[in-house]
Symmetry: C4
Subunit: 195 residues, 4 copies
């Protein structure tokens, strides 16, 4: 299968997952507090929406840069990529759990751990896929620049530790953990500017 | 990253957001008034559906004309575009809030302000992205026609004031504000006909 | 704007609308009758799912054949196409209403009329768009074969009357009306076989 | 119609269906047991999510390999493909039913049978479509390699019996049946590695 089609399918899943996030934000009911108050009161839903949107957005950019060096996809690439997509497509669920529980329940710690655990799993799939691509002979494009490959490897390296750390922070402060994932996404998005 | 892929991803998000709008329209329950009555009674849901659909449709057309002049995307373009997509993907939420509250609750003002505020924020992202594209050297295509660039800039200029005005109208009449957003979308859609 | 991009966007909206249909089918609750019974009992939901799926599938095939002859899209084409997409993206709503009311409520007539009215409106947009394309000079491809154009016009001609008739049947028998829309879709899908 | 567009539409529907699966996983309520407990308690939802995701992922890979040999699509191909897409787009429904009933209700057998029956129907459409493609003269590409065609036919042959068997297992043990579908997907995904 040409890698372009694998990439188009992955793009489709990522675009859909990122756009489904909004469906998890609850419409306030007409009974109850004033609408303005109800809207402000569910700020964790907007925060988790924004953090998940940025994180999946970054994943999309990185997914592309990864696949731009791939010349040929074997069944393991398919399998690992499907695993990665399965975690990305799952993002709306912990996002909604965080929106429901963060700052609103004594269960907020479990919500933030779930959220962080999924992103960490996503980072694991991401790194395993990349390591497989660069180690299995014959998968990268013939013209792939070794220095660029090494630069990508280096930029991915802090991913799992950073995500693991942010998940651990959830045990101390769930809201800080979610905010940290947002900060990581912003950092990854804007860091190319330093070059 | 080639801009074609950035555009394809954006198109995907926009197409999904516009198609998700329908999910926010409630199915009347079998208990309650007659179906015909219940269907007519939720006319604000159809109105907000149509206005949001047309507005996002216009945004899609403009997004394309903007990117057709882009030769190269840098990280800031990615970041601003992701911000723009985040507001577009958010549209189903205020659309549903308007459907639930307009003409049906004393809270309709807050609903219409939320609706207008999101569209205004969308216009801000749109304009910041465009201004960045045309001011940062080396982003536009080498063959971009300065007169066409200037014509686009001119056509975008009234966007923020118009959207801001329509949002302000919500304080006087929420339903008029929503209708005004519909009128703006129709105007933008049909104005090329005058040429 | 190249027509290929207009087509890709339309394809996206149609593919999403057709796939969202399933979300309107209710998951039976664990309280209540046996699952097998509950599943069988909501057969109108499966019927309306299948009829809407086939109808939108046919619309997709026809939309493509229509656009394959288009050489250039002007603002009116954009506007009419957006109107058509707005009705297609709306299909999940009346489909769910039919699933909820047909054969299950005295309101089934209103449900079937809504269903038929939307499909008829879809056919109207479809025909207006096609008539505009072939009458406005300079829109069709230079190499468009007049006989093929005429053949398409002829095949579209019965659309509005047929859909209008099927809608009218809803006043006599709502379930027959829905079934008739299914039969029309099957007929359109299989009629090219006679050639 | 060029087969590339048929394929792109099919890819879109498959990508959307696979990504909608997550919407069927319920957000635990703030009232009730602890969140951690509630999350663990709905493990059947994660299982059915993963099994459906992998199965649809495999279907996507196979759909591509099938269409890569197609040179021309006639109306029957369109019709059968639409039938196949209709079953794929339906997957979120039985997936949600399994999530709700498996290991949680005396109705779990009916849930697993529904799940298996849909996948079996999917396999039937798949095989009928493939058999039609290879038997109707003039549909395959002129350069299609007969040995590859035969290899595909051979690899599809066990599909219906395997799926039928896994469905039958539901009468003995519903959870084993669901797990078996997962095992079949993993097997199909990893079997190319043996070569």
């Amino acid at each position: 299968m040409p890698t372009s089609r694998l990439e188009a399918f992955s793009d489709g899943v990522i675009a859909i997952a990122i756009t489904l996030l909004v469906l998890e934000i609850k419409i306030p009911s007409r009974e109850g507090a004033s609408l303005a108050h109800a809207l402000l009161d569910q700020w964790p839903a907007y925060l988790s929406y924004a953090v998940s949107f940025l994180t999946v957005g970054i994943i999309w950019v990185n997914h592309h840069s990864m696949f731009s060096h791939l010349g040929r996809a074997d069944p393991v690439v398919h399998f690992l990529n499907l695993g990665l997509l399965m975690t990305i497509a799952f993002v709306p669920f912990p996002t909604a759990v965080v929106a429901e529980f963060i700052e609103r329940s004594s269960d907020e710690r479990a919500a933030a751990v779930l959220y962080g655990a999924l992103f960490t799993l996503m980072a694991v799939f991401f790194n395993v896929l990349w390591q497989y691509m660069i180690r299995k002979p014959g998968l990268l494009r013939a013209d792939a620049d070794p220095r660029q490959i090494e630069a990508i490897s280096r930029s991915y390296r802090p991913g799992i530790p950073l995500y693991g750390l942010a998940t651990t922070v959830a045990f101390l402060s769930p809201i800080a953990s979610v905010a940290l994932f947002g900060a990581i996404a912003l950092f990854y998005m804007l860091s190319p500017l330093r070059r």
